[in-house]
Amino acid sequence: MKQIHVNEEYCIGCRLCEIHCSVQHSRSKKIIKAFKEEAPRALARVLVEEEGPLSFAMQCRHCEDAPCIEACIVGAMHRDEETGAVLCDEDHCVGCWMCVMVCPFGAIQRNLVGNKAASKCDLCLGEKVPACVANCPNEALTFIEAANSNGGEPQ
């Protein structure tokens, strides 16, 4: 499956990924409306970490043996059969935060608005290119076929 590849060398810390992720997960999917009219603003599912000149965007790695799927007590966290993405069925989630406890990337957020539910990258649900990648001005995020499984696999 295709994965979002993070290249911290070229992350410029602009946070356009976060902005466009929030827009993508807003009701209107229109940037000005999403920011100015919709409250609360949709959570971005990608998080930029910054320290000095170093920065990178981090979102769910969609691990092959995803600890969050193992840990989910209700089966809300699941792998999409078509895309291979790890998705959270937010209507089914009860907010026990087991996934928050086990995600070694800290890529799952708690959405405390309304029905408490885990919020995470959904690879824009089958969009050809996820919004964060499409809007990264420096190709620090790329959407490429993964050559191998990633580090999320518990040893």
């Binding site: 602009c14 946070r15 356009l16 902005i19 920011f35 190709e139």
Partner: protein, 505 residues
Amino acid sequence: MTFSMLTPEFRIERDQERCIACQVCVRQCANDIHDYEADEDWVYSDHSRCVGCHRCVTLCPTGALTVRENPLDFRRNANWTATRLRDIYKQAETGGILLSGMGSDQAHPIYFDHLLLNASQVTNPSIDPLREPMELRTYIGRKPDRLEVSRGPGGLRLETQMAPQLVLETPIMFSAMSYGSISYNACLSLARAAQRSGIMYNTGEGGLHRDLYEYGSYTIAQVASGRFGVHSEYLETAAALEIKIGQGAKPGIGGHLPGEKVSADVSRTRMIPEGTDALSPAPHHDIYSIEDLSQLINALKEATDYKKPVGIKIAAVHNIAPIASGIARAGADYIAIDGLRGGTGAAPTIIRNNVGIPIELAIAAVDTRLRQEGIRNQVSLIAAGSIRNSGDVMKIVALGADAVYIGTSALVAMGCHLCQKCYTGKCNWGLATQDPYLTKRLNPEIGSRRLANLIRAWSLEIKEMLGGMGINAIESLRSNRDHLRGVGLNQGELDALGVKAAGMG
């Protein structure tokens, strides 16, 4: 801070209906112009420091920003323009030499814009480059006066010993820009693009970063007055060597890379202490005559076993033709001439704007002179100094150049917006800076792709234009001034360029 009479050059207009206070502008401006007030969820801009680089405008996701020239009108005065006044205010405040980056922005005549190319109609057929081969490959180096061949069992054999040549897939190269004046990522972009395009890039006088050795066959290594980063491995790694005498933006003066730009990596590459100013002397202290130059050329050739072309780069100055003739006779394989409008990372503004002559006139004069002396074949000519498009390439080749160097165009391809603030080290596009916050803004993968695209696009256009003229090789255009006509030029200028006025048949 003392009172300043300087008024803002630019004005930032923020469309509050579109601004979503996402703060991309705040994060992207190295001049700290934009400021987010969390309690108001509002972004303010202090435009007094805006340099007009458009980084914020380009990255704003809602197109909420516009940068305009500050519409502050001084009392109209054709002589005392706003720029002149501002320069005086600045100098009255600082007491220093005014610095600028990039090439002259003054309204000197641009001869390219007064020269027009020819095309075939009826009496000679034009060529369709999509159907027929079109040769742009160019060899840089000394050509023999004549070729001797012998006939053997295997057919003809070349008996003449050829001087070393640089092979270019298209007659365009990237100008000298040193590591130090531009970022590592910019250097890497140039090197990769040169490799992809089958052309050369040039180290400038910054030495060669070890990680770029792998692009050695696409590298011209400069030997300049400061001798920064020059060692035997450096010479051996490059495809050609270039002794830099002068630069179009600042003929007659040396260079000065401020200590702040001399990072650990730059210091290693230049072989100077970290954080110290890198001063290139105005002259080479071992070159006071053509004979001295000849010695250095021969020394470099000796050092590299006569396997690499050695060229000389000079600024276009008044008596350029005899100087070039001397250089050709001193044994140079090519002469790179940098015109008045050539760029720089930093130069005294007054020199940048007032010293030297335009490249069009310089190439025409040198080509004419070398032909008159019968030594044009002994040396290749490379033209530099604001080659802006493929039309300029065609025209300068028709005036006598073998190939061109592009510096400013290459930077623009990588994102430069010509704000002319290279010397501040705060290049928001990650080009003319060593600041780690800024250098990462240029992803060399993108930079090299954009550069290679530019070279490809120009090459395609050159083929189209050549085809239109009925010519199938760039070589046939060289010094072929009959393919040029001048418009809006006086007779003196037409004579200097060696072209007829348009309409003169």
